[in-house]
């Protein structure tokens, strides 16, 4: 009988620091694993990085109103998919995106469905 739970670290950083943090991770040879978000009373955006099977999570907490985030596509170009997703599904404004789909990443029937209050008027 065993339980397999992987050791994972989590640090919370300020919104302003995330780009530096990402650049630093990139320099250290980490790979961007994913960016995810949880929207409840605030927005918790979690960046995950991996190096040699060790996973490091970095979290940024954004306020509920007018959430904005700087893009880390400068450090990790691959982040554009995740950040476009943040824009489309959560309504977080990501500034400085290298490849900005401008809300057309997905075609949705509900605007920003994962935001605390999904905006209904689609079409």
């Amino acid at each position: 009988m065993m339980v397999h739970v992987e050791e994972q670290s989590l640090v919370v950083v300020d919104k302003g620091q995330i780009v530096d943090k990402a650049t630093q991770m990139s320099k250290e040879g980490f790979r961007l694993v994913q960016i995810s978000c949880l929207a409840k009373d605030s927005y918790e955006v979690t960046y995950s990085f991996d190096k040699n099977y060790a996973c490091a999570h970095v979290r940024v907490v954004l306020p509920k109103d007018n959430p904005e985030l700087p893009s880390i596509t400068g450090a990790y170009f691959a982040a554009f998919t995740y950040e476009n997703e943040l824009q489309d599904l959560f309504g977080i404004k990501v500034s400085g995106l290298a490849l900005d789909f401008k809300g057309k990443f997905y075609k949705l029937s509900v605007k920003t469905p994962f935001a605390p209050q999904p905006q209904q008027p689609a079409q």
């Binding site: 789909f101 401008k102 809300g103």
Partner: protein, 636 residues
Amino acid sequence: MNILLFLLLFPAAMSLVFAILPANTFRNALVRISCLLIAAGSVYAAFVFNGQGYQSFKVEFPHIDMIFFGGEMLLSLFLLYKCIGIKKHEWYIPALIIVQAGIMAYCEMSGAVPEVDNALYIDNLSIIMALIIGIIGSVICYYAISYMRDYHHHNPQMKDRQRSFFFILFFFLSAMFGVVFSNNLVWLYLFWEITTLSSFILIGYPKTEEATRNAYRALGLNLLGGLGFAGGILYLVKFCPEHTVDLARVIASGPGLMLIPVVLISFAGVAKSAQMPFSSWLLGAMVAPTPVSALLHSSTMVKAGIFIIIKFAPVLSGTWAGYFLALIGAVTFLMTSIIAVTQSNAKRVLAYSTIANLGLIVACAGIGTYETLWAAVLLTIFHAVSKGLLFLGVGSIEHKIGSRDIEDMDGLIVNRPGLAVVMLIGILGMFLAPFGMLISKWMCLEAFVSSSIFGLPTGVLIAMILAFGSAPTLFFWAKWMGKIVSVPAGLAKGEGRVPGDEWTALVVLAVATVATAALFPVISWVSVEPYIVSLYHQTVSLSQGNTIIMSILLALMILLPLSFLAYPKKTKLVPRYLGGANVGDKGEFLGAMGVVQQATMRNYYLAGFFSEKKLTIASVLVTICLIVTMFAVVKL
């Protein structure tokens, strides 16, 4: 003989008139009438002399030879004058002029130029050439009336020098008649140089930097050829035991005595007919207004080059020099056909295809058996008609759609059906069975395979080159046709009609293209075969079976488009397939990032596969080697 003199002098006379008259309705009417008269004159000449074989005439005029000599010297002086203001690296142009003038003066001064009894002549080849010059040349001049008006309308910054334009145009025709009717090689030489001069001025017509450079390049390369001509005359006058400048006698003397001067003069022909390595002047000539291109490509200039080679074919026949001349043509055909694939500028495609076809003719004439000569003459006819049509068509299209790029011609079948049909006829004429070019190509193949030198099957190599060279032609013509017949969504009928003069010219040539295809057994029987018989005492003629088949094919080609009118059009129209991403029915689709995009379709130019630059360099090198070899083996 009067009709010959008329053809020689009337255009020249009219050219002087046009040099004075400004562009107005009276001038236009006069141009039209002159065109008609020249065409009528050439037809009359054909009517009178056809079937009479070789006829020569004595020109009774005091000091006529001195007049010609004076003309040559004047011409040289004029050219030298024109060389004021050339660039440093173009020093060779005046040098060539001086050398040529020196050679001619030396011949004349030393009093060694023999008399020619009958300075003018006409035979079946001359008749064919005269018809090409007379009919197609004048159709082009006719077309030029409204074209030049529109041309200056489209290019207001350019100075209107139509007077000198029409002056040169008619003078050019005159010189061309001179080339095909002169039996005296010295006379021929003057006419030859006049065509060089005329083309030089016409190419430089737009007076832009590019046009001027290209004009000088044309001049330089043609003078290089002219040097060969002058050298040929020098040899005839000074070294040849036969000691004659009588064209007919030169040909009759055969390769034993005459091969050296003939090869020298053929070299001039190679330059004039823009074979590799000289092809660049003809490409540069594209900067000139379209009637000039049409004239240079279809009825004058380049045709002078191949005329002289065809004329000498009996001498070249069965010699190694002739064989290498043929190889130059064959290599040019293969290479320029491939290069034409990479071009999207319609006029450049036409130019490359011209060079390629001339290459074929040179190859035929170089081999010089009766079958290949037959093919060469027919090729000349078919090429002149179709090419004239195509150039004029492109000119009209350019004025209507504002571009000469093939890519911009999509939907022509819908928005300008008339022009599209004309172009399609022209293109069909260039490469598809049962039109002329293909028939001739087919005859060449047959002829090459059976030709040999000293029992060696040398013609096979040329046949192989031909087999490979035909394939790219198929590709670039067909894709051009594809562009014309494709129907983009949401295309409206174009506005504004093609001017009447242009349209008349186009229709005449289109009808001529179909007619030459339809009547080609007649053409062959009436005028080509007698010429071949007169030289070789035997000739080819198409088997009856094949003629019938060709007729059936042609009938199909004509009937099928016509039957389209009767074809049921009750199909349901749906949008084109765009992977299900269609938006509306105008060929638009919902692309990435939610942008509605227009699907565009472009032809292939295989730029990554064939490189124009590399191929040109390679073929220039190869052909230079071939030319050197041609001269080297002349003694063999």
